[in-house]
Amino acid sequence: MNNLAFELRDIHFSYLGKFPALSGVNINIRPGEKVTVIGANGSGKSTLLHMLDGLIFPDQGTIKAFGENLNENVFADENFSRNFRKKVGLVFQNPDVQLFCPTAQEDIIFGPLQLGMEKGEIENRLEELAGILNLKHLLDRPPHQLSVGEKRKVALASTLIINPEVLILDEPTAGLDPLTTRHIIDLLVPADGSGKTIIISTHDLHLAEEISDIIYVFSPEKRIVKCGKPEEILNDGQLLHDNNLIHIHRHKHKDTTHIHPHLH
């Protein structure tokens, strides 16, 4: 059990002490594992990811990363904080939050600069990533001139450039058109073969099916109601329906009405 990337025991968390966001969450994540967290809006997925990234801490319960307890005190130690940030990278749900510099390039290199990476290495990684993500023409552009898809790619690059062992993505394909969604998934699939631990929250069940080793389902009560392999979770229509992840879709073809569950 000591070689877990993350170990969460009976985690409770609430905002302002009165709005519960996580209730009794237990999760073990092994290095190299691909984990997907699915659940309706407001079920606590983003809160969980922020906690895994050491940005917020539980009101009750313990969270361990690489065998060490995470709390505000350990992040006061500069060495611990720097090592943790090198190992764990989070791509935020809203790219406008993550892109705060005047240009895309400055946003991408912000992380490695803070983490003390050599200038030459930063430049090499920037060039490589800009090539892979097709961002070269966007580097000098300010974030407000980018489309949502471009912003997401720049936000992804700003985390990937750190080359973290654990990549956390908060709804990476939300609000994107099908082509850009496919592009983002294609970018993540090679990362899948690199031995990285990937933790994704999403409503996109196709993405969950394609990427995950294990899926955790969150209920509107901010609890994990079930976890298991993708085929086990995604074939449980009642579970998905009860947790607002599918709906019954009714449509007409000429005179015949079809009724069937609809995945997104």
Partner: protein, 258 residues
């Protein structure tokens, strides 16, 4: 709103392949500061007009449309100088050799030679200064201008905060535009003053709450990528021979005119 966005934030001219755009922003800023010092120190209107001609020539060499450049500079002149300069031409404020008299609302006002030449010098100084500042602004990308501040030893945290303000103004302009459209789609164009006041007040509150939330989220995003209170940046300006040549020219003009 779109005029404000275009005139203040547009990088279109800064992206052109012209003379000033090709210069290192640090050298360009230093030389423009030299020109501004020169403009402030000289009391010779001929020199001021020559410097103004230099600014217009630089605009042409930098592929800036002359009409656009003149409009951008002269639009500020009434704002900054005309209201100060006009009273100064009369004998009440500047006594001296009378040139002519004018009658305004039964009052006879005398325009004096020192008053007129002082006002002309003042306007020439303002228009030349504004021309150089506008030229620097429209031929340099805003993020480069921010980076230039660092060479004047302005603390990095201050420069970064300025950059973030600049970046998020766009987000809030977008929100304001959308809110305006949402209000218009529901209540139409004509709104009673009281209702209008209520809508504006609630919008201000909502915008404040959003900016407060954004502030927390952005700080978390910074922490997530290793920020520990002292932002570090990469300075990748490179000055070439043409930059040094331009600096030499500006210095020569500065020393010769003095």
């Amino acid at each position: 709103m779109s005029f404000f966005k275009d005139s203040v934030f547009s990088d279109e001219n800064a992206s052109k392949n012209g003379f000033l755009q090709s210069l290192d922003p640090r050298i360009k800023t230093i030389t423009f500061l030299l020109f501004l010092v020169q403009i402030l120190l000289t009391r010779n209107i001929f020199i001021l007009l020559c410097l103004y001609a230099v600014s217009v020539l630089l605009a042409c060499f930098s592929k800036i449309r002359l009409g656009f450049f003149l409009k951008r500079t002269w639009v500020f002149i009434p704002l900054f100088s005309l209201f100060i300069a006009i009273p100064a031409i009369f004998s009440i404020f500047t006594p001296g050799e009378p040139l002519t008299t004018v009658k305004i609302a039964g009052l006879t006002l005398i325009i004096t030679r020192p008053g007129l030449s002082g006002a002309a010098l003042f306007i020439a100084r303002v228009v030349t200064s504004v021309s150089f500042v506008v030229l620097l602004n429209i031929t340099t990308k805003h993020f480069e201008l921010l980076k230039v501040l660092r060479i004047f030893k302005i603390p990095q945290i201050f420069v970064m905060t300025l950059g973030m303000c600049y970046r998020y103004i766009f987000l809030f302009i977008g929100i304001i535009e959308n809110t305006h459209l949402a209000v218009k789609s529901r209540v139409g164009i004509k709104i009673r003053p009281k209702k209008g006041q209520r809508i504006v007040a609630s919008n201000i509150t909502s915008l404040w709450q959003r900016s407060y939330q954004l502030n927390e989220d952005v700080y978390q995003a910074m922490l997530s990528r290793g920020y520990n209170g002292e932002p570090l940046v990469l300075n990748n300006f490179k000055a070439g021979w043409q930059d040094w040549l331009w600096l030499l020219c500006a210095l020569t003009i500065f020393i010769t005119i003095r």
